[in-house]
């Protein structure tokens, strides 16, 4: 089996992450319960004729994919695999609302056409004329990890040499309204610096797109090697610890081999206990980082975590804003990512510097 490398990264998020020359040097703070991305100039990436039909999520995905391809010095790839929890929810809301508002008449085509979950992967393929494997995984908070796992397997078995993998989710008005009603979004606004001390239910919702070129050939600009990806539907906090130990064992690693853990804490008092079980348990002596105070919670927020981990390995630097327990390893070699949402769809991703 061939090794799998991350040869380029790109992220559009609530921070100025679309510029790959910097790494969270300046942090944009928010005091809100919903945070939106800082938009790059989409015209630099998408022709106006195509952009006019694209909702935010599609623009984010296409722009992030172009940044990742540019960084990898590639014009095309063998496959495009995306993960999304909600797909193009803004266009879905638009055409469903129109059906209701217009008494099931006058349904216009654009928002309907653009509303599928595979629209982002499809638009990327159209823009770079990629006729290869094109797939979108829709599986709540393991959508991105599922896409990553598919790419990893294809590259390991040399079924493809370069694959564009990404996670993308957008915010939409009705989606926000519904999640506020069921308390999945925090009732009160929270300052991003104080997210983990909020002691309230729900999360601060966000949006974003993070894309990566994965390859089975190392290049001059390789960020890290993808050692393993594992997803789990549900387990108790007690089972979590043994699941992590088994996961590491399968990779011939011990807890002490992990230099940094990047965790998906979102400040939800009901479910952050899963992260606490690890950070106060087996990982208490490991350098801990977190990221959802920077990008918000969304089904593919873990792709931002993967972006952050790859950047830490490449730069050998932990930005102040993401430090959770203040510990710093002497070198950043192996990074573990752990994420879950509302106690379900847990994932471990293991990256290593090379």
């Amino acid at each position: 089996m061939k090794p799998v490398y991350i040869n380029s990264v790109a992220s559009i998020s609530a921070q100025r992450t679309f510029d790959n020359s910097v790494f969270l040097d300046e942090i944009t703070e928010y005091t809100d319960n919903v945070i939106r991305v800082i938009d790059p100039n989409y015209k630099e990436f998408i022709p106006p004729a195509a952009a006019r039909r694209m909702a935010k999520g599609i623009k984010m995905g296409v722009a992030a994919s172009k940044i990742a391809l540019n960084e990898a010095n590639l014009e095309n790839v063998d496959a495009i695999i995306t993960g999304t929890g909600l797909g193009c929810i803004a266009d879905s809301e638009k055409f469903v609302s129109k059906i209701i508002d217009d008494n099931e008449e006058y349904l216009t085509p654009t928002s309907f056409i653009q509303s599928t979950h595979n629209t982002v992967a499809g638009q990327i393929a159209l823009s770079i004329k990629c006729k290869g494997y094109n797939f979108t995984y829709v599986h709540s908070s393991v959508s991105f990890e599922s896409a990553l796992l598919d790419a990893k397997l294809q590259l390991e078995y040399d079924e493809a040499q370069n694959i564009l993998v990404g996670g993308v989710d957008e915010l939409a008005d009705h989606h926000i309204k519904i999640h506020k009603l069921v308390d999945h979004i925090k009732a009160d606004v929270v300052n991003s610096k104080e997210l983990l001390e909020s002691n309230t239910e729900g999360a601060v919702f966000g949006e974003g797109a993070s894309f990566f070129v994965l390859s089975n050939k190392k290049s001059d600009h390789t960020y890290a090697q993808v050692l393993d990806v594992a997803t789990y539907n549900s387990f108790s906090k007690q089972e979590l610890q043994s699941a992590l130990e088994s996961f590491l064992q399968e990779n011939s690693l011990e807890i002490s081999d992990i230099d940094i853990v990047a965790m998906g804490n979102n400040g939800d008092i009901g479910y952050d206990g899963y992260y606490d079980a690890l950070s106060h348990g087996v990982l208490k002596n490991t350098a801990q980082t977190y990221y959802k105070h920077l990008c918000g919670e969304f089904n593919t927020a873990s792709s931002f975590g993967a972006w952050m981990a790859a950047k830490m390995i490449r730069t050998q630097h932990i930005p102040e804003a993401i430090k959770l327990n203040g510990m710093e390893p002497s070198k950043i070699g192996t990074v573990l990512l752990y994420n879950q949402y509302r106690g379900e769809n847990h994932s471990f991703v293991l990256l290593r510097g090379c």
Partner: protein, 85 residues
């Protein structure tokens, strides 16, 4: 008629999300498809729905569309003659 043409230009820009185009930039006889505004078949569907919804005009013969949607001027002429609301 002039007011209708201005109204159509605004609706085309808004409904087709032509962000970089203003009403002043669309001449009454500019081709909407091809070399003019560069609209395509999906836009044509949007315009057909607009005729139905805003002016009560149902196009029974799709071939008619080619002439009707030639320009803002031809659209305004057709709407003036056939509108039911």
């Amino acid at each position: 008629m002039e007011a209708l043409k201005e109204e159509l230009k605004s609706k085309i820009i808004e409904q087709l999300n032509l962000e970089d185009v203003s009403v002043d930039e669309i001449a009454d006889d500019d081709p909407l498809f091809g070399d003019g505004l560069g609209l395509d078949s999906i836009d044509a569907l949007e315009l057909i729905v607009m005729l139905d919804k805003d002016y009560g005009i149902k196009l029974a013969d799709p071939k008619e569309g080619k002439k009707i949607f030639e320009s803002v001027g031809t659209m305004a002429d057709y709407i003036t003659q056939h509108k039911t609301k």
